[in-house]
Symmetry: C3
Subunit: 184 residues, 3 copies
């Protein structure tokens, strides 16, 4: 069985949806966690934020080791990752073809929500945790969401896997979880 890849911008509620979905025996792996594990071992990194401060070559090496690990997975996996990450250098693809070419993908899922709800959740997140800085600019969010759908279509064209967009509205968590569960 191939993996199901679940993506979504901060505030879309990806983690909440994943936590509340019956996983049907699938193992949830978080791409960022896998990177951190390897960065700790290989580069003695102490905090997640240090990864992006490593030189490009080291970061590529970490990504390549994560790809190798994922390619070797024998279990049924849900991969929790980003469709694209909004960095100072631009949108970085979460699933470049160099990674996808090593994976067997059965489904691509983008979790999203109405823009106003995403922004409200981000505001609340930042109140709750002083360290968490999240983009609150609506124009920027609309652009990011727009290009994420284009990345999604590119990933789907490359893998041949279906691309499912799940709307996780306020008050609609259980519907979003049921939809995700139906894909597993």
């Amino acid at each position: 069985m191939g993996m199901i890849i679940v993506m979504g911008v901060p505030g879309a509620g990806k983690s909440t949806v994943l936590k509340n979905t019956a996983a049907k025996g699938r193992q949830i792996l978080n791409y960022g966690d896998l990177m951190f594990e390897i960065a700790q071992k290989k580069f003695n990194v102490k905090h997640r934020d240090e990864i992006r401060k490593l030189d490009i070559k080291s970061q590529s090496q970490i990504q390549s080791l994560v790809a190798k690990k994922l390619a070797a997975e024998k279990r049924s996996i849900i991969l929790d990752t980003h469709c694209s990450v909004n960095t100072p250098r631009g949108y970085l693809p979460g699933l470049p073809f160099s990674l996808l070419s090593r994976l067997k993908v059965d489904g691509l899922v983008l979790i999203t929500a109405p823009m106003a709800e995403i922004l409200a959740r981000r505001r609340k997140d930042m109140e709750g945790s002083a360290g968490r800085v999240r983009e609150l600019d609506e124009e920027g969010l609309v652009a990011h969401e727009g290009i994420n759908r284009a990345y999604l279509a590119a990933y789907s064209s490359f893998t041949g896997a279906p691309a499912c967009i799940i709307i996780n509205r306020d008050g609609g968590l259980s519907a979003a979880c049921e939809k995700l569960s139906s894909l597993l």
Copy 2:
């Protein structure tokens, strides 16, 4: 000469445009028909709807045989297919790279129309034929049309072929047909 691939959501008027366009010696092949022919022979399928009820492995095998058949075509072809199909598992790419890599493509055409006109045509279709169920939700159609353009750009980037969007407005059928004919 490579093939011209014509795509469009239900209600965009793809079939009507194709029927009324001077084909300039090109043969029109319908992807769904090709799948059905093979499914009949190989899997004893009686109705089109049975194809998607086959297991994934059988469906892949049918798709692979269609690709083989198209790759072997010596005639000038217009391929009539979907940009993506809106299934319960998500948008399924009509032209995954595994298929495109076997074809010689000279042009990609997406036929579309104003959203309100597409919805009105779908409503009329359903009245005319009790068996035909078509999505009438505007938000869903806007999302599908949006991601279809992203699929189109991915197909165009992969093949290098130009991507032409033809607007088939109510009352503008002959203009749409002329435009398509100019690409053949």
Copy 3:
């Protein structure tokens, strides 16, 4: 060091931004110039407009020679080109995968601006130069800008390079140039 590829529709202000950006030792190469140089030598072409009047096979040959030249570049390059070109046959990808597969790309940049400002700049351009005909239709521009972002995501997925969208607003040229300079 890989190349930075800068793209943008006519009127987005790509050339102005490039002219006013500290290039940090990078060489700016214009894709159209490279095509013209080769077309002059190989096909005795006198004016740029003659290139697209050549048969498809000759045009492909020119593109292939440009790709070869770019692939052999030892210098740090900024490549100035189009994301897609709006031709009578449809949108032609500026960076088909057949080209990208031969390049080492560190960054993809799309320069854009509010639609009303792009149209106003185009109108002004046409007044200034009788020979320059530019599309002034807003619906067409919105469609082109929309699909350009989808091409951008496809290029980014293929190369793994980040995709940066720089908004070059009226009165904001220096901010756009600073942003571009930060990517070099």
